[in-house]
């Protein structure tokens, strides 16, 4: 177990210090952001006095609430789909040899290196071409909207998920999976009980990345959006012409608080599950010995 080799003494203290410095670095702008959400002034960077004005306005502003709702819907679906497909992709590329693997390997990396505006333009061209063809062939009339935004987000997220999961898979001892495959009759069982728990941190990391990418994307979204599908980042970037008000700080603060509450709840669940003596989806809870004696 790791704890045995955890760094001790000086080294540990330096590492801890580095971690604290980084957390301060991560949260310094967040504190500024929260602080200015209580700014009464119309102008975000000029402090006048504290007030809850923008929190009140936020819930009354239909444009902001619908943009936030659109963003969350897109982020939810694109994260789930890209995590599943991206994880499968990582497994296929890392664990199997098959025809076309090389091509797929190359293709999987291109979405990461393409400039976002190029991706935006090409998806715009593609969607309208595809809609034209569908209209000609089946008489189905489609238009851009939340669906096209979600499809586009999945297209760039899959590769990011795959890279993170592969980094994890590359390191796993294959003998574990082989032993499991020998022990359990089914491959699916071996996958579910051994491989999946082992790569879980990589999958979770990939999912977190996909979520972050989706919540922040402006360029691709602004090209493939349609009627009724303005997302929050697109709305915020559009505000720039009018001067950004602390309203957006208030929205961001609410999102931060909501995500912390969600994290708190899920941690609570985990603890509850442990208390009831069930096995948790934690890689540490699974060791080869446990698998063997299972």
């Amino acid at each position: 177990m790791n704890e045995g080799t955890a760094p001790r003494g000086m080294v540990d203290r330096v590492l801890a210090l580095n971690a604290w410095v980084l957390y301060i670095f991560f949260y310094a702008p967040i504190l500024v952001l929260i602080f200015f959400s209580f700014n009464d002034n119309n102008n975000v960077a000029i402090w006048t006095q504290a007030s809850f004005r923008w929190y009140g306005e936020m819930f009354q502003n239909d444009n902001v609430t619908s943009a936030l709702r659109n963003s969350l819907i897109v982020a939810f679906f694109s994260t789930i789909v890209s995590t599943v497909i991206g994880t499968l992709l990582a497994i296929a590329l890392e664990r199997y040899r098959f025809r076309g693997r090389g091509a797929l390997d190359g293709l999987a990396y291109l979405p990461i290196i393409i400039p976002d505006v190029t991706m935006a333009v090409m998806l715009l061209i593609f969607f309208f071409q595809a809609f034209g063809i569908l209209d000609d062939l089946f008489g189905v009339r489609l238009s851009t909207g939340l669906l096209t935004i979600t499809l586009a987000h999945i297209a760039f997220s899959i590769s990011f998920v795959a890279v993170v999961v592969r980094a994890r898979l590359a390191q796993l001892d294959e003998s574990l999976e082989e032993a499991a495959a020998d022990l359990y009759a089914g491959r699916w069982q071996a996958f579910r009980r051994v491989t999946l728990p082992l790569i879980a941190p990589g999958v979770a990391g990939g999912a977190l990345l996909a979520l972050t990418l989706s919540l922040d994307d402006v360029v691709v979204t602004s090209f493939v959006s349609g009627s009724g599908s303005t997302t929050l980042p697109v709305y915020v970037f559009g505000l720039v012409r009018r001067g950004v008000t602390p309203l957006i700080n208030a929205v961001s603060t609410v999102m931060l608080v909501a995500s912390m509450v969600l994290v708190g709840i899920s941690l609570g669940f985990q603890r509850g599950a442990e208390a009831r003596g069930q096995r948790v989806a934690d890689p540490q809870a699974l060791d080869l010995e446990m698998v063997v004696t299972d």
């Binding site: 119309n42 034209g132 238009s143 602004s222 090209f223 970037f237 012409r241 009018r242």
Partner: protein, 375 residues
């Protein structure tokens, strides 16, 4: 070696796919939408006054429209307005060319010119929009759409300089020299803020040199680039997003930017009297955002009714009092808050304002020369 080979293979495969699909792309690229547009000939839809033919899809800049005007329209005409927002004229144009459908859009001046040339706009049915008569005279003879055949001005503003008099002093030249004269900017404690926009910034330099904003002589453009190059030492930032805040909190002594943002930011400071927004004497940009109806609008009658509604004197004043931009609606001016009227009084008088126009093939040089100027 094996991995390198794999990439080469990937690219070759992609290249082969190109040859296979190339023909398709040539036939029905999004450009063909302009051909489709041509068929309808931009003729006005037959709509009666106050007629509605469905819900309205409204595509606008963020926070540019008073929500109360939206609600009142929805109640009066019993239709829904679906509002969407864009953050660049060009992204909006690409969507429209690809086939996206909206009923009313609010593009800027030069973009209206492009959209007319591309046959993307339907002409405005004046029977359905009698309030076009409310427009001030200056806004009926615009170079990109003389006689307002395809567009109805929504709001306007200028691009000028915001000056922090506490830093620059009371006695400063009312000129683009404030940002382009390196000897002058060297006397400020910190550099100035200049827009990061090829047309606006190259345009300001052209104006400083005495040329037109829409000048299409490469030698003049080179001179403008040299002017900016020489001024780089005194420029703290090329900024199109946050210049008004940098000005208001004293980060920069002079900022190049749009009038509406300036008035809001200056008004929000503790000492608004310390700041002044000026139009340089060499001349400056006048910009106008316009309501247009695309040829593929699904509900053109609701669109005209909506435009007519916004051009109403009272509603026009409500709009300006909401977003603090200038109102092209002459009938509305009596109802507009006095501070906004005062702010735009200088614009009303200024003779040497120019509207940015699309320069066609020449357009690409503005971006390139700004890149060259920055070094």
């Amino acid at each position: 070696m094996e991995k390198t080979a794999r990439f080469v293979v990937t690219f070759v495969v992609l290249a082969l796919m190109v040859t296979a699909c190339g023909g398709d792309g040539a036939e029905d690229g999004p450009d063909s939408s302009s051909v489709d547009g041509g068929e309808t000939d931009g003729g006005a839809a037959a709509c009666a006054l106050d007629q509605v033919d469905g819900d309205l899809n409204f595509y606008n800049w963020s926070d540019y429209m008073d929500p109360e005007l939206i609600t009142a329209f929805e109640e009066e005409y019993a239709v829904d307005i679906v509002e969407d927002f864009y953050e660049s004229n060009e992204a909006m144009l690409s969507q429209l060319q690809a086939g996206a459908s909206y009923d009313v859009i609010v593009p800027s001046d030069y973009m209206v010119g492009i959209m007319i040339q591309e046959n993307l706009l339907t002409s405005i049915n004046t029977d359905a929009v009698p309030n076009m008569a409310n427009l001030g005279e200056r806004f009926t003879t615009l170079p990109y759409d003389p006689g307002n055949v395809y567009s109805a001005p929504y709001q306007y503003g200028t691009t000028g300089l915001g000056v922090n008099k506490a830093i620059v002093g009371e006695d400063f030249p009312r000129s683009w020299a404030l940002i382009f004269n390196p000897e002058l900017t060297a006397t400020y404690p910190s550099g100035v803020s200049v827009l990061n926009d090829s047309r606006e910034t190259m345009g300001a330099a052209l104006k400083y040199l005495g040329y037109s904003l829409n000048d299409t002589d490469l030698a003049h453009l080179q001179e403008a680039a040299d002017t900016i190059s020489a001024a780089l030492g005194g420029i703290a930032t090329f900024d199109s997003d946050q210049y008004e805040e940098s000005l208001a909190n004293g980060e920069v002594p002079v900022a190049h930017g749009y009038s509406g943002n300036m008035i809001t930011a200056i008004g929000a400071t503790a000492n608004p009297d310390e700041f002044e927004y000026i139009l340089p004497e060499e001349g400056a940009t006048l910009w106008i955002d316009n309501m247009v109806v695309p040829v593929n609008a699904e509900n053109p009658c609701t669109a005209f009714t909506f435009i007519n509604y916004l051009l109403d004197a009272e509603n026009g004043a409500t709009l300006t009092n909401f977003n603090f931009y200038g109102s092209p609606n002459a009938a509305a001016l009596a109802l507009v808050e006095s501070e906004v009227v005062e702010f735009y009084a200088a614009t009303e008088e200024a003779e040497n304002l120019e509207v940015i126009q699309d320069t066609g093939d020449y357009e690409i040089h503005f971006t390139d020369y700004l890149a060259i100027a920055k070094g």
